[in-house]
């Protein structure tokens, strides 16, 4: 509980200058006392955080700290041994949660024998636009528009196998321009993207957050996003002795 309070305090401290949605509202996504171990090593424990609509949250930590594992726990592609995750007051699983989620993983989810257009057709066939106003199936015109936005206008009939790693990532990123899912969870979205691409992406992130969406991302860069909140995994590394003291010291440093 001490930990949970601390995260909220840190979160609100960082974001206090920015205009924001109602603080008193219930959190959209609530991480409660999460615990994760991998191959007998505790990656983090006692991780709690409340995430509200309009939040941009960066998960930070060195390599191997468990950033991708934490994302796995939230998206359900990992096993949650201890702790609870709630989306809008109910356990974050099943239709209730996934109909709100857009997830971009370490591997982009782009099949290389298919063209960008075919990849998007499949993706939106499964997901739809995830909008409150009905699940319209997107026309090819809309998909091509999104591909043009990520700079792939001449590639719609080229197999992804013939494209560079950055271009393949862009095929996956094209989803961000079509999906209206409220919750975006992005694992290293900047991987293999050039500087102009990063700037465009950040503009899109800003737009999403301003319309009340949530972004949770990992990145080794420091994204130029305001206001940016942090979940620093270093704070939740298991130290059996004097957890409270170390946390307090870290708080004092800030």
């Amino acid at each position: 509980m001490v930990l949970a309070a601390r995260v909220c305090a840190t979160l609100s401290k960082v974001s206090s200058t920015a205009s924001r949605t109602d603080r008193n509202a219930a959190p959209a996504l609530r991480l409660d006392n999460l615990y994760c171990e991998r191959d007998d090593r505790v990656l983090f424990s006692g991780l709690s955080a409340d995430i509200y609509c309009g939040d941009t949250v960066q998960i930070v930590g060195p390599n191997g700290a468990g950033k991708t594992s934490l994302i796995g726990l939230i998206t359900g592609t990992g096993i949650l041994d201890e702790g609870e995750i709630h989306w809008q007051g109910k356990p974050a699983r099943g239709y209730h949660f996934y109909s709100n989620l857009l997830y971009l993983g370490h591997a982009p989810g782009v099949n290389i024998s298919l063209t960008p257009l075919e990849n998007l057709r499949w993706y939106f066939g499964l997901n739809g636009v995830k909008s409150e106003n009905g699940s319209g199936i997107l026309s090819d015109g809309k998909l091509l528009e999104a591909l043009a936005t990520v700079g792939l206008e001449d590639y719609d009939d080229v197999q992804c196998a013939h494209m560079s790693a950055g271009q393949q990532r862009r095929v996956a990123l094209a989803r961000l321009y079509l999906s209206q899912a409220p919750l975006w969870i992005l694992d290293e979205p900047y991987t293999a993207i050039d500087t102009a691409g990063v700037a465009a992406l950040e503009a899109r992130f800003q737009e999403h957050v301003q319309s009340g969406g949530i972004i949770i991302l990992t990145s080794h860069q420091s994204p130029k996003l305001n206001p940016l909140k942090m979940i620093d995994l270093a704070n939740y590394q298991d130290s059996e002795f004097g957890k409270a003291e170390t946390t307090l010291e870290a708080g004092a440093d800030e």
Partner: protein, 229 residues
């Protein structure tokens, strides 16, 4: 309340995608069929070119070869989706995995089981299969290869997170193929010997129905385990 696309769209788009992928990788498509026909050369070379001997062996050989060809083609079933992250996307789409597995297996059968069945008369010819055996062979393979694809999908899903799962996949799946092999080859043999085969064909059909109901369920569970590895 946000709504996801309906089951029809999900099944249709997955089917469409798998079909395109199958035809983009034509090499993979032809391999099981070529393997199937290669054995037709091996058996006379290794056993005997005598038509009488081959005719005795034919029902069993045809079925064993169909089984091995299916096994060989199985390890790619979920592998590329696992490697490129598409399987994760399927998991977090909130759509029922059962029907997505079903669509994938259906395409797998259409591009391996069905061609094998259609080519089996060629193999029958090379193996001196008696004339009475052809129709029962086609029917038994049509029903049986469906079960083979479905049961095999469980093995493919269980080994999806392993780098080199091919041989292990065969090891864990082969015992489960025993009933299909027994009844499939029995259909052809009984037909040649002039017995009724309706009962055995009914059993094969029952295996297919059972596999349709249960195998995608087990494969979906196994895929979830693989992704959470």
């Amino acid at each position: 309340m946000i709504e996801l696309p309906g089951l029809g769209t999900v099944f249709g788009r997955t089917f469409q995608r798998e079909f395109i992928m199958g035809f983009r990788n034509r090499g993979d498509l032809a391999n099981p069929v070529i393997f199937f026909l290669c054995i037709a050369i091996f058996v006379p070379l290794g056993v005997s070119p005598d038509g009488k001997v081959l005719a005795v062996l034919a029902p069993g050989i045809i079925w064993i070869v169909a089984l091995l060809a299916t096994l060989l083609s199985l390890d790619r079933l979920f592998q590329s989706d696992f490697d490129d992250g598409c399987l994760q996307q399927v998991m977090v789409s909130g759509q029922p995995l059962y029907w997505i597995v079903m669509a994938k297996v259906l395409v797998h059968w259409l591009i391996t089981g069905l061609p094998l069945t259609l080519l089996s008369p060629v193999l029958g010819l090379m193996m001196s299969l008696p004339a009475e055996g052809y129709w029962p062979m086609l029917v038994s393979l049509l029903l049986g290869t469906g079960s083979l694809s479905l049961i095999g999908a469980i093995g493919a899903a269980l080994t999806v997170a392993l780098r080199r799962g091919g041989l292990l996949l065969s090891l864990i799946i082969m015992p489960l193929y025993v009933p299909v092999l027994i009844f499939g080859s029995a259909v052809i043999r009984n037909a040649i010997e002039g017995f009724a085969v309706g009962g055995q064909i009914a059993v094969l059909a029952a295996f297919l129905v059972l596999s349709l109901l249960l195998a995608p369920l087990a494969a979906a569970g196994a895929l979830r385990i693989g992704v959470q590895a």
